[in-house]
């Protein structure tokens, strides 16, 4: 009940402050604060460790002031002191401060001496807001979207179906007309001219040896073409899109959130392998990102994504409720998508660091891929083509200075391609 009163009080004060305008604004809001400003302050300063309704690195903060006042009898001043210098409060021997410090395994809260009383009031006002329940609205939106999508599909099919029926009716009509006319002719005794018995077309065709020869050559060539095509695609897994043990969306990470590829695939800079990030890299962010709040589709709902994050927690052994590692890990068995044969040597760092090739050049629009798939054919011809066309990036690289000067003179070009640098030699990739 108390919080309702509070809310009413604050709205009243707000109304009052609107009336008195400038002169009293600061003083009044110093008492209660602006939840909107508080939200932005909270997100900037507190959200790394605190959530409103969930225990994280620090405790959940919804109604923290009221809770402290009720349970501990601590007032706002205590909170000011704590936020600005928690270590000092702990040192002073404050019982509750020490209790909370020990409860969170001695994790010291960052001191925020720069926050003014106003700021803190705003933040506290934000924490005192009643929890919203956005679920029904989101559900309705999703349902609406689904309807729209479905109707579009049906209309197309309807048109096509109607056309098909029309054609069938036309054909049937023509047949019937023909039949009726013949019956009329019969009835009136008109002799219809009989079509003379000619050799059927197919028989003539079979008898014409030249045509047969041409056709069989054509068939042989065509089948050879298709057989060749079939053989050439063996081992080429372009578009390979396996289901992974954890549904990791590159679209959300690299696309929506704009995380650099090499943040996770860091070894691509220095090693032949791009490396699948170890789970501790995931936990750099997912320690605080425990739920998905972005766009959803019917197939990939919020619940679905949250479930996937749970899978990550299970694999890395993270107890989200207790905010600690359990030590029970289950390494994730990802399915490898880009498989080069053993006899081909490829080095990521050569391409990524030295040549400065964008990841997307070979891996495609990863930032749009909800499910990762193999974009390029990864065949030798594909490699060679790129080597033939790509100019070597020699800028500010002392290694290339001499060789580039001499070679470009030899070939009479300004910029050398990878092929001209020797990038087509067998032994550069096969050893």
């Amino acid at each position: 009940m108390r919080k309702v009163i509070h809310r009413k009080l604050s709205t009243n004060f707000l109304r009052l402050s609107l009336v008195f305008l400038l002169a009293f604004t600061t003083a009044l809001s110093a008492q209660e604060g602006d939840p909107a400003k508080g939200k932005s302050l909270f997100n900037a300063n507190c959200a790394a460790c605190h959530k409103l309704d969930k225990k994280m690195t620090g405790p959940a903060l919804r109604n923290v002031e009221a809770r402290l006042a009720d349970e501990q009898g601590l007032d706002r001043d205590w909170l000011y002191a704590w936020i600005r210098n928690s270590a000092g409060v702990i040192k002073s021997g404050d019982a509750y401060a020490n209790k909370i410090y020990n409860e969170y395994a001695g994790a010291a809260m960052t001191a925020f001496p720069q926050l003014s009383d106003d700021d803190l009031n705003n933040i506290l006002a934000y924490t005192a807001e009643v929890k919203e329940d956005p679920a029904p609205i989101a559900g309705a939106e999703v349902a609406g979207a689904q309807d729209a999508g479905a109707s579009g599909g049906i209309s197309n099919e309807l048109i096509l179906g109607a056309l098909a029926i029309l054609f069938i009716l036309l054909a049937a009509g023509l047949y019937l007309v023909n039949k009726t006319l013949r019956r009329f002719a019969d009835a009136q005794g008109i002799e219809l001219p009989e079509a003379s018995k000619r050799t059927p077309l197919w028989k003539a065709f079979v008898q014409n040896q030249f045509l047969m020869l041409v056709v069989s050559i054509f068939f042989l060539l065509a089948s050879a073409y298709f057989v060749y095509g079939y053989f050439m695609q063996i081992g080429v897994d372009q578009g390979y899109e396996p289901v992974q043990p954890i549904h990791y969306s590159h679209k959300i990470h690299a696309g929506d959130n704009g995380i650099d590829c090499k943040y996770c695939h860091s070894s691509a800079r220095v090693s032949k392998h791009s490396g699948i990030p170890s789970l501790n890299v995931c936990m750099n962010c997912h320690k605080s990102i425990y739920e998905y709040n972005g766009e959803t589709t019917p197939e990939y709902s919020k619940e679905f994504y949250d479930g996937e994050i749970k899978k990550l927690y299970a694999a890395v052994g993270w107890d989200d409720a207790e905010q600690r590692y359990t030590g029970e890990t289950q390494p994730v068995k990802w399915i490898r998508i880009h498989n080069l044969p053993d006899f081909a040597y490829f080095n990521h760092s050569q391409h990524v660091t030295v040549a400065g090739v964008e990841c997307q050049t070979c891996h495609g629009p990863v930032e749009e891929m909800e499910v990762m798939y193999q974009h390029a054919p990864l065949t030798m011809g594909w490699c060679i083509n790129c080597h033939r066309e790509t100019k070597v990036d020699v800028k500010d690289n002392a290694y290339y200075e001499k060789i580039h000067e001499e070679l470009s003179k030899k070939y009479g070009v300004d910029e050398l391609t990878a092929a001209q640098m020797g990038g087509l030699e067998c032994g550069k990739c096969h050893y």
Binding site: G275, L279, I335, Q350, T353, Y399
Partner: protein, 1032 residues
């Protein structure tokens, strides 16, 4: 017109009435086709329900299923770390400095690890004083991934846990403390300061403890001599880089003499510099690696060696000795003595005679010479065993005086000549524990087998030479449930520290003197600045040397020299050493540098003695070598060994190597050879033997069947120092010429070239230079190449079929006259058909005491490569950087290239060695495959493979430079072989970098190309061998 030519298949066809010819004519297949095996069992065949038609259906179905399955790619899993260690980046190698100290080989090394797996051993360049990685050390990494390793502690046959082990053994040890019985620690030489400290703490706790240090191959005599003279147990140190005249009497110092590791110093003075190089005179019985490298080699029996050494002493130091020598040897000794005296402090004398007097004589000579190469101040600590202590122990054990025996790093049941006595003694002990990696001859007899880790999984410290310390650190988490001896000692002394902390503490208080432990660990070595005496635990009990030298050592030595009949010298082979790595297929297949024979040991005997005893070597139909067996008896112990006729073996002497004939803890294929330790009576490597021919014929696996050079001077070019200094290059290193318009034109001239020259002046152009003067033939490069390039092992029977896969081989040639020069003369003077037939025939046989030449041969990477032009699918092609590329996936296996290669360096991959039960050489199991280099493809069968000039290494160097945006310095480019060569014989680099070492070597007067006359323009160069034959 039909041809009247008749082709003879064998001499037997000359005999008109030969029954063999008649039989063979009617029989296409010499061996019976084993149809009976399949069709013989009529009952089973009839009772089977599978009809012929069903059988065909199955065949058809399985073929179709297999081909369909082949179209579907496998699903590959990729499992990242949960928490990735910061130092590991997949695809990037980490290097750790560590030290091997297995009781026989001691060396500071660098270990290359990939994704946490050690895959290669390399030299630690900042620890030159601590030896270098020889072939065995290079191969030791494979021992880590041996599937026969013990995976946990055992009690008898049954596995137990370490806690049970601790409980039971501690109880027993405590119980023994009260009784009068001794607790014996029988260990290898650890040379470890911290282990010594631990053992003394163990002694303190349990009281009646005896520590016996046992070297399987004893250096006791040298240790005793040194101890008697200098009061400390150790071996005199020699730096051959400071010696210009070297006289060795029976010392194989390029091999394993006194712990080995002397070759890099030796090689430094072997390369003529400003007209000077060292002179090396070798007196010896067996043809050793050292003798093969000597400028002058005098074969003589071990008895004569003693007299010769005594005489050498009297000529140099003074005094007179009794004894007589054949005239030529007497003369050689006199000349050697005068050269020693002339060289003065630049001379050095060494001996391998296991006799305390002989060793004392050498110490005296070197002191008299004031030899700079001789260093008595920093003794080598890697051998500390005492023959007497070991003999005493066996006696005490038999008498039941020993209550408990704890062994570590030793295998006495294999290495003791009186192993049966030891076994009897072992059964009388109340507690016996063996720390071992295998269920070997000894650990299978003890009550407890404490599974020991490989040195790459262990901590440790070593004092290799006095004041020169080295650290051993694990490079991988232990693969199995193992515990090292030192950790067990800590448990028994109720110390909760780990051995790592113990070492750190021990070093902090005694050795480091304030320096950083982490720095020492990073470097792997630490050179002591403060003189700390490491307490030696073994000597406390056994402080009286085995035997003290007599007043006049030389005179005693000369009078002790008497013998009748044949004398056997037991030696160690470069590949196998003392035999503890016998289950290492790389080493088994490593051809002995001298005999070029793999997978065996054998009795080496001179041609004259072999003829007298009726022992023969002959080649069989497929070209392989077979030999007689002989019974070798020493004081009633007889073993039967195959006989290999060895040029250079002194008449009246025979040789047999240690390290073979092991039977326990080995795969069946590795159980090769005979156990020579049975003849090692009294720990004396020289024994009087009687030899008689035995029945049967032994099949050798030799990789070189033609031993002489036949005057082919364009293969190994060599000259003498005198000619090298006085004559023009044209005289001793002429470029071959061909006739062009009746004018002699050098083959290197473009006018006589079949090919057009490519412009190779831009970018890198790699060359490898091999200096035949610096190369001792040690073979470290061969094993390094194995490890780097995933070269498979093919096994004995395949080697006999000449299908060995070594990408790099070291050819060894004998002269058929007394010198190669003589061969050339003889060849040049051949005239007429008759003469050529008889004299070429003679030249196929090596001389009684031949000159020897070693020549490492790998793919020559010809700029005008004959192999490239004949490949029908263009699988082999040339790169701009000078390498001859080989695309395995393109190769279809026609083998034209191998036919067209003048150097015989291409190897055809006949089988799928990496996944074949028939080739059980570690590469076919998951554990063994962990040693494979992930940057080099594992070749499948049906393709040709060969040396790539380690293109993966040059490419990596280039990439690193590109990434850093810098030029590449000389010395950065390396191949596995050039990096492994600590003798400086192999130099690799970019000849377009005009300041590089290799570019300068290319312009050197000694430079030549192998078979220059064929005009292949190789990118591997050789430096003419120069011999210092000048008798001063």
């Amino acid at each position: 017109m039909s041809s009247n030519k008749k082709y003879w298949k064998s001499v037997e066809e000359l005999n008109e009435n030969s029954s063999i010819v008649e039989t063979l004519r009617q029989n296409e297949f010499v061996n019976e086709i084993p149809t009976d095996e399949f069709l013989g069992d009529k009952d089973t065949l009839e009772s089977t329900s599978t009809t012929r038609r069903d059988f065909l259906k199955y065949v058809g179905f399985s073929t179709a299923a297999a081909s369909l399955a082949a179209c579907e790619g496998p699903v590959k899993k990729s499992i990242p770390y949960v928490v990735q260690p910061t130092e590991i980046i997949p695809g990037v190698a980490n290097y750790y400095a560590t030290t091997i100290a297995d009781g026989f080989d001691f060396a500071s090394v660098l270990v290359k690890t990939r994704e946490g797996r050690p895959i290669k051993i390399e030299n630690n360049a900042i620890a030159p004083a601590n030896g270098n990685a020889n072939a065995r050390v290079n191969a030791s990494v494979l021992g880590l991934y041996d599937s026969l390793r013990v995976q946990g502690p055992r009690k008898g046959e049954n596995p137990i846990s370490w806690s049970e082990f601790d409980k039971e053994t501690t109880e027993k040890l405590t119980e023994l403390k009260g009784t009068g019985k001794e607790i014996v620690l029988l260990t290898q030489t650890f040379a470890s300061p911290s282990t010594s400290k631990l053992i003394s703490e163990f002694k303190e706790k349990y009281g009646n403890v005896r520590h016996v240090v046992y070297d399987a191959i004893s250096e006791s005599a040298a240790l005793d001599a040194y101890q008697a003279k200098y009061g400390e147990r150790g071996l005199a140190n020699y730096n051959f880089a400071k010696a210009m005249t070297i006289v060795s009497v029976g010392a194989d110092f390029l091999g394993d003499w006194q712990g080995g590791g002397f070759d890099s110093g030796y090689s430094k003075n072997r390369v003529p510099d400003h007209g000077k190089m060292s002179r090396h005179i070798q007196f010896e019985s067996n043809l050793s690696l050292t003798g093969a490298n000597a400028d002058k080699r005098i074969p003589l029996t071990p008895t004569q060696q003693k007299v010769a050494l005594a005489k050498l002493h009297s000529y140099v130091v003074g005094g007179s000795v009794a004894g007589s020598l054949p005239e030529n040897i007497e003369d050689a000794v006199k000349k050697a003595a005068s050269q020693l005296k002339k060289a003065g402090s630049n001379a050095v004398v060494v001996t391998g005679i296991q006799d305390v007097n002989a060793q004392t004589v050498v110490l005296e000579i070197n002191e008299a010479l004031n030899s700079k190469a001789f260093d008595s101040k920093t003794p080598i600590k890697t051998r500390q065993g005492s023959d007497k202590a070991v003999a005493q122990l066996v006696t005490d054990m038999k008498a039941g005086k020993v209550g408990a025996i704890i062994m570590s790093g030793v295998n006495p049941m294999y290495t003791l000549p009186n192993a049966a006595d030891f076994a009897e003694g072992l059964s009388k002990t109340e507690l016996s524990i063996a720390f071992s990696m295998k269920v070997d001859e000894s650990s299978s007899l003890t009550q407890y087998l404490a599974a020991a880790p490989h040195y790459l999984e262990s901590w440790g410290d070593v004092e290799i030479k006095k004041g020169h310390y080295a650290l051993t650190q694990p490079t991988i988490r232990p693969l199995f449930d193992t515990r090292q001896f030192q950790d067990a000692l800590l448990k028994w002394t109720e110390n909760d520290q780990s051995y790592h902390d113990y070492i750190k503490d021990a070093w902090g208080t005694t050795i480091l003197g304030g320096s950083s432990f982490n720095k020492a660990l990073h470097d792997g070595v630490y050179v002591g600045t403060i003189d700390t005496e490491v307490e030696s635990t073994a000597e406390v009990i056994e402080d009286t040397p085995t035997s003290t030298p007599f007043g006049n050592a030389a005179r005693t030595l000369a009078t002790s020299a008497n013998s009748d009949g044949l004398e056997l010298t037991l030696y160690t082979k470069t590949g196998m050493g003392n035999g503890q790595q016998a289950n290492n297929p790389w080493l088994q297949e490593f051809p002995d540098p001298i005999t070029r024979t793999s997978w065996d040991n054998y009795l080496t005997i001179s041609k004259a003695d072999a003829d007298a005893l009726g022992l023969v070597n002959n080649h069989v139909a497929n070209g392989a070598l077979n030999g007689s067996y002989a019974n070798v008896s020493v004081n009633g112990v007889t073993i039967t060994a195959p006989v290999l006729i060895q040029p250079g073996q002194a008449k009246g002497s025979v040789g047999l190597s240690f390290g073979y004939g092991r039977t326990a803890g080995l795969k069946e294929e590795m159980q090769t050879g005979v156990n020579a330790y049975a003849l090692y009576q009294g720990f004396n490597n020289v024994q009087n033997v009687t030899i008689e021919a035995a029945s049967g014929e032994h099949e050798f696996a030799s990789v070189q069947l033609h031993n002489t050079l036949m005057g082919r001077g364009d293969i190994v070019k060599e000259t003498t120092l005198e000619i090298f200094n006085t004559k023009d290059k044209k005289y001793w290193n002429a470029i071959p010429v061909v006739s062009l318009n009746h004018e002699e034109t050098p083959v290197t001239s473009p006018e006589v070239d079949l090919w057009d020259e490519f412009d190779r002046s831009i970018g890198h152009h790699f060359n490898l230079s091999v200096d035949l003067n610096a190369c001792t033939g040690c073979g470290a490069c061969v094993i390094a190449c194995h490890a780097e390039n995933n070269v498979p092992v093919v096994g004995k029977t395949e080697v006999r079929r000449s299908r060995d896969m070594h990408w790099l081989r070291i050819d060894r040639y004998y002269s058929s006259e007394t010198s190669f020069e003589g061969d050339n003369e003889k060849k040049d003077n051949i005239s007429g058909l008759g003469s050529s037939l008889s004299e070429f025939g003679e030249m196929e046989n090596a001389s009684e005491n031949p000159q020897v030449a070693f020549q490492p041969v790998m793919c020559q990477h010809c700029n005008h490569a004959p192999c490239e032009t004949v490949c029908p699918v263009a699988a082999t092609s040339h790169g701009r950087q000078g390498q001859n590329h080989m695309a395995y996936n393109r190769c279809v296996g026609t083998r034209y290239c191998a036919n067209n290669c003048p150097y015989k360096v291409r190897r055809f991959n006949w089988f799928l060695y990496n996944g074949n039960d028939e080739f059980d050489y570690h590469m076919n199991d998951d554990l063994g495959r962990m040693v494979l280099n992930p940057d080099v493809v594992v070749r499948s069968r049906g393709v040709m493979e060969k040396c790539s000039m380690c293109i993966q290494m040059t490419q990596k160097t280039i990439l690193d430079a590109k990434r850093d945006g810098r030029q590449i310095k000389d010395g950065e480019f390396q191949t596995a072989c050039s990096a492994a060569c600590s003798n400086g014989a192999m130099t690799f680099g970019d000849i377009n970098d005009k300041d590089s070492k290799v570019a300068k070597l290319k312009e050197d007067n000694r430079m030549y190309h192998l078979l220059e006359s064929v005009g292949t323009k190789p990118n591997v160069q050789y430096q003419t061998k120069v011999r210092n034959t000048t008798e001063a």
